[in-house]
């Protein structure tokens, strides 16, 4: 270790770190506003037509709620690729249970999601397997189940679910969940503990944080959140097809990164990453669709933007193997 060097280049480094931090904070917000304005202009105001705004909102609910769970996981330095499959399984469970009462259906969806989250947690925490490996495995595994259940014909929910397809209900649920998440993350020890685990798990353990218990809880919570998001998904679609939840995991990941989330988690994450990221992702997505780009071109553009943002926001000092 070289004390001299670290001491002496400190001021410069601090100034640089501050600049990068500022970019990390403001670029996504500025980007969101700029892109929104750009698309309003490009679509001659179509973008903010009420029906399009509602469509936009409709897409955002699921991703924003699921992204919150993944945000907690990524803050601890982990990754989760299984959210799409969790959404799928929970959607199927909700459809099957919906004739027996909506409360039971919601509960079932949450439990199903939490169970898959707990499977992830068990293999990651107790069997010490890297989270991205575990969750890629469960992604394939449960995607298989979804295909099995929904390939021949979509699993249909009872017609009563459409009663809940009301914008104010969906918006209220999303806002409530995100608000509670924000308060707990920002104003209780919970958030600091997660960041501490992400920045240095051993150090966190020696400061008295029950790291294993915490990790188990968070993976399960992330599953449960997506389980609830599945309800909003079914309310909108009325049935679960074999493709339900496809690519949700990548959408979440891109949304968080667009929101300025450092991929290695740790001290520099901000809760706003979730909100700004989800909005940015869908404004971009629907904007590009509206100006008539094909899905293939869309995916290409998504990929390029994703790479650029990862490169800008990577916290190279903290960059290590993701847990």
């Amino acid at each position: 270790m070289n004390a001299t060097e670290t001491n002496l280049s400190k001021e410069e480094e601090l100034a640089k770190a501050k600049r990068i931090n500022q970019i990390r904070t403001y670029l996504p917000i500025v980007g969101l506003v700029a892109i929104f304005c750009l698309f309003i202009f490009l679509t001659n105001g179509e973008m903010i037509a009420p029906k399009n705004l509602i469509l936009l909102l409709n897409q955002i609910y699921v991703v924003m709620i699921s992204a919150m769970g993944v945000f907690f996981i990524m803050t601890m330095g982990g990754l989760d690729f299984s959210q799409g499959s969790i959404l799928g399984i929970s959607s199927i469970v909700i459809c099957i249970l919906s004739p027996h009462g909506i409360a039971l259906a919601i509960f079932g969806g949450i439990v199903a999601g939490a169970c898959i989250g707990a499977v992830n947690a068990y293999f990651h925490v107790c069997r010490k397997i890297a989270s991205f490996i575990v969750t890629i495995c469960t992604m394939f595994l449960f995607r298989g189940f979804i295909k099995y259940f929904a390939s021949d014909s979509p699993v249909r929910a009872s017609m009563t679910v459409y009663d809940y397809d009301r914008i104010e209900l969906k918006l209220a649920c999303t806002v409530a969940i995100v608000l509670v998440g924000f308060l707990v993350f920002r104003y209780t020890p919970f958030g600091t503990y997660l960041k501490a685990i992400g920045s240095g798990e051993r150090g966190a353990m020696f400061a008295g944080i029950r790291t294993d218990r915490m990790k188990f809880f968070i993976y399960t919570l992330a599953g449960a959140l997506t389980g609830f998001a599945a309800f909003l998904n079914i309310v909108k679609n009325g049935s679960a097809t074999a493709n339900v939840g496809n690519q949700l995991e990548t959408q979440i990941l891109i949304a968080l990164v667009l929101g300025g989330m450092p991929i290695s988690g740790g001290a520099k994450v901000r809760f706003s990453n979730i909100i700004v990221g989800s909005l940015l992702f869908y404004v971009l997505y629907s904007g590009l669709t509206m100006i008539g780009l094909s899905p293939q071109t869309l995916q290409l553009i998504e990929g390029v933007i994703f790479l650029i943002f990862v490169a800008v926001f990577a916290d190279r000092k903290a960059l290590k193997v993701i847990k």
């Binding site: 670290t6 002496l8 020890p189 600091t192 501490a196 920045s199 020696f206 400061a207 944080i209």
Partner: protein
């Protein structure tokens, strides 16, 4: 004066606006161990890093045997006859011992583009035999070996090609007594072969004992070069700090009676492979020392008391009968712990000073519904950082930017803030310069007077003798003797129980 091996002429190096090394000139002779000392940040490492090609030179030059050298990287430096052994681990995991020894010099074994691994292993094994490290096998993965053995492998890597100059950068702080002896032996061998050692160390007794001449640096400038035989430790301290070191270093009291009140008792504690049946009591207001070789299990004692050992059996009990079985119960019952592995276990490097200080106290600081107020956290962090006089811009600064001594101050600030009554300090002054060391000793003394109890685990025998009321010596995972504070205690009395 013997022949000159290396001339350092008007060397300067800046990082941005700050000058790390300012116009430094001195000579290193053939066949000498030349110590380079100075406080943290005095420019020692920057200087040697330029010599070994890790940093570029701003101005000035190195003249080795009459020829100017300016290596661009460590391999080039090796080819010029310069090598370095660093403080932390310099070996790469995932490679074999042989691959580590010959790293950067693989071309010696390559024929027609194919590497002859067998020949490489054979030569490495021969070297291991030559150096008397036959318990290490060249074919094995380096990860099979512990810190000490990996250091020995680094010694071979840095010296097997008979370099003219070997830089040893604070290597001894990380080594146990036996590892140090091995290093001293190799230093002697290099010196007797007519080559030179540049020896960087914070341990002044060691510097006086092992070096022929000593160059002192302060704030990037050259201060003086002296013969080791002409100076005392106090002279060196004065030259390093630039003023008289005032106040006491270690404790000066002797014969004070320690309270009989037991605050913590350890009964028949064992940890598989590390500790066997350890029992002892810690009293109120006592500083209890643990000494031994680094593999003696003494570091595990600290972890066991803190509830951080895997598979521990036996009991750790507080005065009120509470049993300590995991880290959070230890912390909640007023036990604090500073690890030997400061960067990974005591701190979270990539977090702010504020986060590091407040982390164990968050639950205490939380209001109704576990809510935290930013202002309260900041005041708390600022108060204890200030109390420990941590040198920083503000508490938002990341801990990774701080020097070793300041990092340790942050660790201590955290536990003082938590108000812990029992402190387990493992190697509290490891790699820390004199001024901060003195601060830590004085703090320990004050805590003792305030009836806090301290377990101090250390590989520095002098600080154990200077600070502790009792010293327990460990050997092979068991207690091998106990010594009581007295003026007559000396290092040999401790060593005789250690080996």
């Amino acid at each position: 004066m013997s022949e000159v091996r290396l001339q350092i002429q008007h060397l300067s190096k800046s990082f941005g606006i700050t000058k790390a090394v300012r116009d430094v000139s001195f000579n290193v002779s053939k066949g000498e161990v030349h110590a380079l000392i100075g406080e943290n940040g005095s420019g020692k490492s920057t200087l040697t890093n330029m010599l070994t090609g890790i940093y570029t030179i701003d101005s000035g030059k190195f003249i080795l045997d009459g020829k100017e050298v300016h290596p661009k990287n460590q391999v080039e430096a090796n080819n010029e006859g310069i090598s370095i052994i660093v403080q932390e681990l310099g070996t790469l995991s995932g490679l074999t011992v042989a691959e580590n020894i010959f790293l950067g010099h693989e071309e010696r074994f390559v024929k027609y583009g194919i590497k002859n691994t067998r020949e490489m292993n054979r030569q490495a094994n021969e070297l291991l035999k030559q150096y008397d490290f036959s318990h290490i096998r060249a074919e094995e993965q380096i990860d099979e070996y512990n810190f000490e053995d990996r250091k020995l492998i680094e010694i071979i890597k840095a010296t097997y090609f008979n370099p003219k100059i070997v830089v040893i950068d604070e290597t001894t702080t990380a080594l146990s007594q036996e590892g140090r002896e091995e290093l001293y032996k190799q230093m002697n061998r290099i010196r007797e072969a007519g080559n030179s050692v540049i020896f960087i160390s914070h341990d002044l007794a060691e510097v006086l004992d092992k070096s022929d001449s000593i160059t002192i640096m302060r704030d990037g400038s050259y201060i003086d070069t002296v013969r080791s035989s002409d100076v005392t430790e106090d002279d060196l301290k004065r030259l390093m700090v630039g003023r008289e070191v005032s106040g006491d270093y270690y404790r000066t009291d002797y014969g004070e009676k320690v309270s009989d009140e037991v605050v913590l008792s350890v009964d028949d504690v064992s940890v598989p492979g590390l500790l066997h049946d350890i029992s002892f009591n810690l009293h109120k207001g006592e500083i209890l020392g643990f000494g031994g070789l680094s593999e003696s299990g003494m570091h595990e004692v600290g972890k066991a008391v803190f509830g951080a050992s895997y598979g521990r059996t036996g009991k750790v009990t507080l005065a009120d009968g509470t049993e300590i079985n995991n880290i959070s119960s230890a912390i909640n019952h007023s036990i604090a712990y500073t690890s030997k592995d400061r960067d990974n276990e005591s701190l979270i490097l990539n977090q702010s000073i504020e986060d590091n200080i407040t982390l164990p106290s968050l639950n205490d600081l939380a209001g109704p519904l576990k809510s935290l107020s930013d202002k309260k956290l900041r005041t708390f962090a600022e108060k204890y950082a200030k109390q420990m006089s941590v040198k920083m811009q503000d508490v938002d600064q990341f801990v990774s930017d701080l020097s070793g001594g300041n990092k340790q101050k942050v660790v201590l600030a955290r536990w003082i803030g938590k108000g812990s009554d029992i402190l387990v300090l493992d190697s509290p002054t490891r790699g820390i310069d004199i001024k901060v060391k003195q601060d830590i000793y004085q703090l320990m003394n004050r805590m003792r007077q305030n009836n806090k109890s301290i377990i101090m685990i250390s590989e520095e025998l002098m600080e154990l003798i200077g600070m502790c009321d009792r010293i327990i010596i460990m050997k092979d995972g068991a207690i091998n003797g106990e010594l009581t504070r007295s003026k007559e205690l000396n290092e040999n009395m401790l060593i005789s129980k250690m080996v």
